[in-house]
């Protein structure tokens, strides 16, 4: 079989001590646990037999070639995609039942340059955006809860280093600055798990490294478990506790040193894959199977598969 569980055998005991996944309920539960999980979309299996465990407080990257279903994995964590087999447990409950405790950053390009809404308004939506009705214009002075919510918005904006540009229209700040505001939005409600879908995509290199450092700091200092989908592992490599490499038949997880090796990836994709180490510590993966054409043809091959 292509996919098989490596987490148990390969991962050293995590920083949470020896309790492990069998240690009962409460804080020792894994933040995310996939158990022989599979997802089908329109009759086609995206991936199957995925087993992975993300311990609380850890920083995990989900890697893999295009079209392998990394975003689908995120949606399974959020409960937006149903499983066809197996189970997903998030923060001790079935996926989809921990809504308020998960901060989510979807994959995106950016805000429209002409959008005349301030960054601080975008962040505020993270605290009460789905509530019906309209906030009263001077409610901050009347209701302590509103004041607390406003202070919390200021606090997260400060935390992500966005104070200087939070009052400018969001369409006019840079991609990296928008990403900081969106991270603040996801953090407003003090989530225990932060799920980010390609947050470094389409950013310039300095922004990539500063956003990666920010996410790592949030993970360490505020004890937020982070699950991050990435196309390129290098900007985050030094911060990661573990990586999950996804293939159609399963996932391999472990520390980056264990998983991102020529042997592991070759066995996983059943095609020669080579991992090269550049002199500056970066990893280059060569020979990763890419689908022949992305997007439009991604679903076209279902017809010809036996």
């Amino acid at each position: 079989m292509l996919g098989y569980r490596r987490a148990g055998e390969m991962r050293p005991t995590g920083p949470t001590g020896g309790a492990g996944p069998t240690g009962g309920a409460g804080q020792n539960d894994p933040a995310v646990r996939f158990d022989h999980a599979a997802v089908q979309v329109a009759g086609r299996t995206i991936w199957s037999d995925v087993n992975l465990i993300l311990e609380p407080g850890e920083f995990m990257a989900v890697l893999g070639p295009n079209g392998v279903g990394k975003s689908t994995l995120i949606k399974a964590v959020l409960g937006l995609v149903g499983l066809s087999a197996g189970s997903v447990t998030v923060l001790g409950r079935p996926a989809g039942q921990s809504g308020r405790e998960i901060g989510y950053l979807p994959q995106r390009r950016s805000f429209d340059a002409g959008l005349r809404v301030r960054g601080i308004d975008i962040v505020s939506l993270g605290s009460d955006g789905e509530r019906w009705g309209v906030p009263l214009p001077w409610g901050d002075r009347l209701f302590p809860a509103r004041r607390a919510a406003r202070d919390r918005v200021r606090e997260v904006i400060e935390l992500v280093g966005a104070t200087a540009f939070a009052s400018r229209p969001v369409g006019q700040v840079s991609g990296g600055e928008q990403q900081r505001l969106l991270i603040a939005q996801a953090l407003v409600r003090r989530p225990r798990l932060l799920v980010l879908d390609e947050p470094l995509d389409s950013l310039d290199l300095p922004s990539q490294s500063s956003i990666a450092a920010l996410i790592s700091r949030i993970c360490r200092e505020h004890m937020v478990t982070v699950m991050l989908v990435a196309h390129d592992v290098n900007p985050i490599l030094s911060y990661l506790d573990c990586v999950a490499y996804l293939a159609r038949g399963g996932a391999v997880c472990g520390t980056p040193q264990e998983v991102i090796t020529s042997e592991t990836l070759t066995a996983m994709y059943r095609t020669p894959v080579e991992v090269l180490h550049a002199s500056d510590g970066r990893l280059v993966v060569v020979g990763e199977p890419e689908p022949p054409a992305r997007h439009a043809d991604r679903h076209a091959d279902t017809a010809v598969r036996p």
């Binding site: 809504g99 005349r116 809404v117 301030r118 975008i122 939506l125 955006g129 019906w132």
Partner: protein, 296 residues
């Protein structure tokens, strides 16, 4: 007191303005319409749905013409047509996650062209209707009855009430649809409800300004206010204020002149927008100049 033209005595001018019931009704209707159009228009501009809004307004023309043709009230025709068109536009699948696609604007354009053609047919079938045609297209501010004002008020109250209920999630779904959907906001449903409300507003406004000048009240105040400030609450309030001021000024000036009301309302709206856009450009230029002059 008789009509004596414009003087320098403002009190006398205002008294003269409000001397005739038709003018009082025009001010009442204009205020109601300005507030409704401002509120819905603010979201429409933010959602980049001006084309959909325009189509909803255009569709009210065949709606009204058809209603007159079959002998029912034009008001019913306006609202029926606009709400039906709103539901059609809402049924067009918006690719999730992406911006409003080109297929959407193509479908809206097709609906709009067909609606205009139907309007032309209804007018020609009715025959001898040319005075009314100008009214349908360019407005009939000065022929509004008290009962029409009541209908406008009822529709406006209902539309604004529903809008107030959905305002915050709608704002969320507008600026950040993916996150809103992940948070459980019914993005698609809100979009449909909003289009229906926009249809009601467009139908209301077109009874006053005519089907072609609806944008004067739906787009101009909102676009101007959003140029001036990026604070949602402030620009929303400013939109309503600008709309009301534009209508009042337009009505007042038109009363003392021989030219149509729609022209003046639109002109004041246009002037406001140009001023705001020019002001913003000047401010951002001077800021950039300062930033260059004082290196960090």
């Amino acid at each position: 007191m008789t009509f004596s033209g414009l003087s320098w005595n403002v009190v006398a001018d205002v008294r003269q303005l409000l001397m005739f019931p038709f003018m009082v009704n025009a001010f009442r209707a204009g205020t109601i319409v300005a507030i409704t159009a401002g509120a819905l228009g603010w979201f429409m501009v933010l959602r980049r749905q001006a084309f959909a809004g325009h189509t909803l307004a255009i569709v009210s023309f065949p709606g009204a013409a058809g209603a007159i043709l079959v002998g029912i009230s034009a008001t019913i025709g306006y609202f029926t047509a606009a709400i039906a068109a709103a539901l059609v536009i809402a049924a067009v699948p918006r690719s999730l996650g992406g911006r409003a696609g080109s297929s959407e604007s193509a479908i809206i354009g097709t609906v709009q062209a067909f609606a205009l053609a139907c309007g032309a047919l209804f007018v020609s079938l009715y025959g001898g209707f040319l005075n009314g045609l100008t009214g349908l297209l360019f407005g009939s501010f000065l022929g509004i009855s008290a009962s029409q004002v009541l209908v406008l008020l009822a529709v406006a109250a209902a539309a604004i009430g529903v809008l107030a209920l959905i305002a915050r999630p709608l704002f969320f779904a507008t600026v950040d649809p993916d996150v809103a959907a992940a948070r459980g906001v019914p993005v698609r449903l809100l979009s449909t409800v909003f289009l229906v409300l926009l249809g009601c507003a467009a139908a209301e406004v077109s009874q006053i300004t005519g089907a072609l000048l609806v944008f004067a009240l739906l787009v101009m105040p909102a676009a101007t206010a959003q140029q001036i400030t990026a604070r949602p609450m402030a620009s929303f309030g400013l939109t309503i204020l600008l709309g009301v001021v534009i209508v009042w000024l337009g009505l007042a000036v038109a009363y003392f002149s021989v030219y149509p009301v729609g022209f003046f309302i639109t002109t004041f709206g246009f002037a406001g927008y140009v001023l705001a856009a020019a002001g913003r450009t000047a401010v951002s230029r001077s800021r950039r100049g300062q930033a260059l002059a004082v290196p960090a």
